[in-house]
């Protein structure tokens, strides 16, 4: 039930009571009137019925009155609700309008804001992009400038390094040349001075110079220059060891144990000697000053192992590894050099260049042992040295039966070759004759002039044709073909080292008979005598003259040396054996006189000085 509205309450409490009461009054009057007006007998019934009807009427009137009141209240409430509804609808419309307006406003604002932000964003993006581009350009330019500068500095450094290296190499080469020349001078002086005091001093200087030469060699090796000296013939192992010993300070503590007859090929001999000298120097420096350093030579199938054993400090594993790495020659940069420890780096370079293998291990003597493997391809067996000399000689033509006679003829055969390159035409003809005589069996079609031209081009053509047809079949070394005059095969090899600064081919070969000082003395005496008699080259003497001369010479020798006359069986046949080639030898000797280096003429290092002192 809805609550009664205020308009309904004005007559509500009056009407429900007044209307039934009025009705009840009227009904009671009507009933009382009917009862009085009606017959007497029916009055009772009439009263009861009239009362009941009056009660019923009152009830009906009450109900009707209530219904009318309710209907009126309901109608009033309905009007009120209708009014509220209209009001609410109006309110709703208003709110909707407001909402729409608000929405539109917000949308506008949002759009504006968005546009603004978009603009700002675009602007910022553009600005940042520009800044970025500018910065990138600047950095790129700076980077390019840096790179260019670094590039320039790198180029500068590299060119400076190359210049320094080449200057150092050049200086080292000159020092090598100086040392080599000084060593040769000292050796000449040692031959010249026989006073023991002077000799001792000269040997001392010799030793110092040899060490200086080794230092120059080391610098040359480190700077990549080639070794200063090249030996023209294989160097025997003993000489290799002694050559290495001679270049270090403590050579007197080195004990060499070598029974090997192997030799190292000439082109590698200097490198092997140098590497060995460095190993020896290390061993001598890092062992007590009184301890000996032992060098053993062992032949193995892959070559020769030279082991240098000291009894000094034992190297630790780290030191061993470092030394092994240094001598392996893997790194060729100069960065790791310390200035005082050049030796192992030099060994490494040399090992790399010549294929040597150097390793370290603890020595049984208590110190360290350095092993150097000289590969087989660098080795030459010197067992062939004696047959080689006979093989080089054209043994078939002469009656030479001994090896020494064969060497003598070989000397005459090879001597003119070098001579022809330096002497003018007068001796060239003699040389041509000799060459023609040698090469005629092998190259019959060639004219003497062509042979002379060949001789001028190549120093030792005669050795080639004579080398091939040798029936001995022994292996022969190439280098032996160019060496001027083989020394005695069993001792005191006489290799002629070629020096870079000297013209190797232009030099006159050693004396024609270098093996015999006595013969050389005689030759020089004869030369001075004949030079005083005739200035121009003598004509070639005939074979008879030569034979007679040789016979005189032999009798002279017998007279001078009565005690040795009988046993010199090896000397006596040698002289007649050279008779067929002696004219050539004489010519060559006469030709040499015009070309003899001044050193041999005007200073007393000539052989006369030796024998007369």
């Amino acid at each position: 039930m809805t609550p009664p509205l205020p308009g309904d309450r004005t007559d509500g409490p009056r009407s429900p009571l007044t209307v039934p009461l009025l009705t009840a009054v009227l009904a009671a009057l009507a009933v009382a009137a009917a009862v009085f007006a009606g017959p007497e007998p029916a009055r009772g019934a009439l009263a009861v019925t009239g009362t009941v009807a009056g009660l019923l009427l009152c009830a009906a009137v009450t109900v009707a009155d209530r219904a009318v009141a309710s209907a009126r209240a309901a109608r009033t409430r309905l009007d009120t609700v209708t009014e509220d509804l209209g009001r609410l609808l109006k309110e709703q419309n208003r709110l909707t309008e407001e909402h729409t307006a608000e929405l539109a406003r917000l949308t506008e604002e949002r759009t504006a804001e968005r546009a603004r932000l978009t603009e700002e964003h675009t602007a910022t993006t553009d600005r940042l992009t520009e800044e970025h581009t500018a910065t990138t350009d600047r950095l790129t330019e700076e980077h390019a400038a840096h790179v260019a500068r670094l590039d320039a500095r790198l180029r500068e450094a590299e060119s400076a390094r190359a210049a320094a290296l080449s200057a150092t190499a050049n200086a080292a080469g000159r020092m090598q040349a100086l040392a080599t020349g000084m060593l040769a001078d000292l050796r000449a002086m040692e031959d010249k001075h026989h006073d023991e005091e002077v000799l001792a001093d000269l040997l001392h200087l010799d030793h110092r110079t040899a060490q200086a030469g080794r230092l120059a060699d080391s610098v040359a090796v480190l700077t990549g220059a080639r070794s200063g000296r090249r030996w023209a013939r294989p160097i025997a192992m003993e000489s290799i060891l002694r050559g290495a010993m001679g270049r270090i300070g403590g050579y007197q503590r080195v004990r060499a144990h070598s029974a090997s007859d192997t030799a190292v090929a000439g082109h590698a001999a200097e490198g092997v000697m140098h590497a060995l000298a460095e190993l020896l120097d290390n061993a001598a420096n890092f062992s007590p000053p009184t301890a000996e350093v032992h060098v053993y030579v062992e032949e193995v199938p892959s070559g020769i192992i030279v082991s240098v054993e000291d009894s000094g400090l034992v190297m630790s594993d780290v030191q061993l590894r470092r030394a092994e790495r240094a001598v392996s020659g893997e790194s060729t940069d100069l960065g790791g050099l310390t200035g005082t420890r050049l030796g192992l780096a030099v060994v490494g370079r040399l090992a790399r260049r010549y294929g040597l293998k150097v390793s370290y291990r603890p020595s049984a003597r208590g110190g360290t042992s350095a092993l150097m493997l000289i590969p087989q391809e660098l080795l030459v067996t010197t067992g062939a040295s004696a047959p080689e000399s006979t093989g080089t000689a054209p043994a078939a033509t002469s009656s030479a039966t001994t090896a020494r006679a064969g060497e003598a003829t070989a000397t005459t055969a090879t001597a003119p070759a070098g001579e022809a390159t330096t002497t003018p035409a007068t001796t060239a003809t003699a040389a041509t004759a000799a060459i023609a005589a040698r090469t005629a069996p092998a190259i019959p079609s060639e004219e003497p002039a062509a042979a002379a031209a060949r001789a001028a081009d190549r120093p030792a053509p005669p050795a080639e044709p004579t080398a091939e047809p040798t029936s001995a079949g022994l292996p022969r070394r190439r280098s032996s073909r160019t060496k001027p005059a083989p020394a005695a095969p069993d001792h005191r090899h006489d290799p002629v080292p070629e020096h870079e600064s000297a013209a190797p081919d232009g030099e006159a070969p050693p004396l024609v008979l270098p093996r015999r000082r006595r013969g050389r003395t005689l030759a020089d005496a004869e030369r001075t005598w004949s030079a005083g008699r005739t200035a121009d080259p003598r004509p070639a003497p005939t074979a008879e003259e030569t034979r007679a001369r040789t016979a005189r010479f032999s009798s002279f020798r017998r007279a001078v040396r009565p005690t040795t006359a009988a046993p010199t069986g090896d000397d006596a046949p040698a002289r007649p054996a050279t008779a067929p080639t002696a004219p050539t030898a004489d010519d060559v000797r006469a030709g040499r006189d015009t070309d003899t280096p001044p050193a041999a003429q005007n200073n007393p290092t000539t052989p006369e000085g030796d024998t007369t002192s």
């Binding site: 020349g181 040997l203 040795t564």
Partner: protein, 115 residues
């Protein structure tokens, strides 16, 4: 002096004698002392020693040995004294009478002139 590069061997003279350059005071060798080998060269010898023993199979003067080896006489004397101390060579002085015979000297002079 000789030209650079004409040095003859890689081994220096002081290495031949282990640094000695003076022979002892009682060294019996002079230039004309005759040396005779007492034994054959054996393997492992210094090559100069072996060469001396080969040269002196017949008696040879010291100066000739030096010329043959192309070594200074002082060095050869040290080498020879080593060999002498080891008993591998013996030394004796040559007879001098024949050398001073004037006839022979004259013959030598004539022979030299005729050469």
């Amino acid at each position: 002096m000789s030209r650079p590069g004409r040095d003859d061997a890689p081994d220096r003279l002081y290495t031949l004698t282990q640094g000695r350059s003076r022979s002892g005071p009682d060294n019996p060798f002079d230039l004309v002392t005759l040396v005779v080998a007492e034994c054959a060269p054996v393997t492992g010898m210094q090559s100069e020693h072996a060469a001396i023993l080969r040269i002196t199979e017949s008696p040879t003067a010291v100066v000739e040995i030096a010329a043959e080896l192309e070594l200074p006489v002082s060095i050869v004397r040290i080498l020879l004294s080593d060999l002498l101390a080891a008993g591998r060579v013996s030394a004796r002085h040559p007879r001098t009478s024949a050398v001073y015979d004037p006839d022979i000297l004259e013959q030598v002079l004539v022979g030299l002139r005729n050469l």
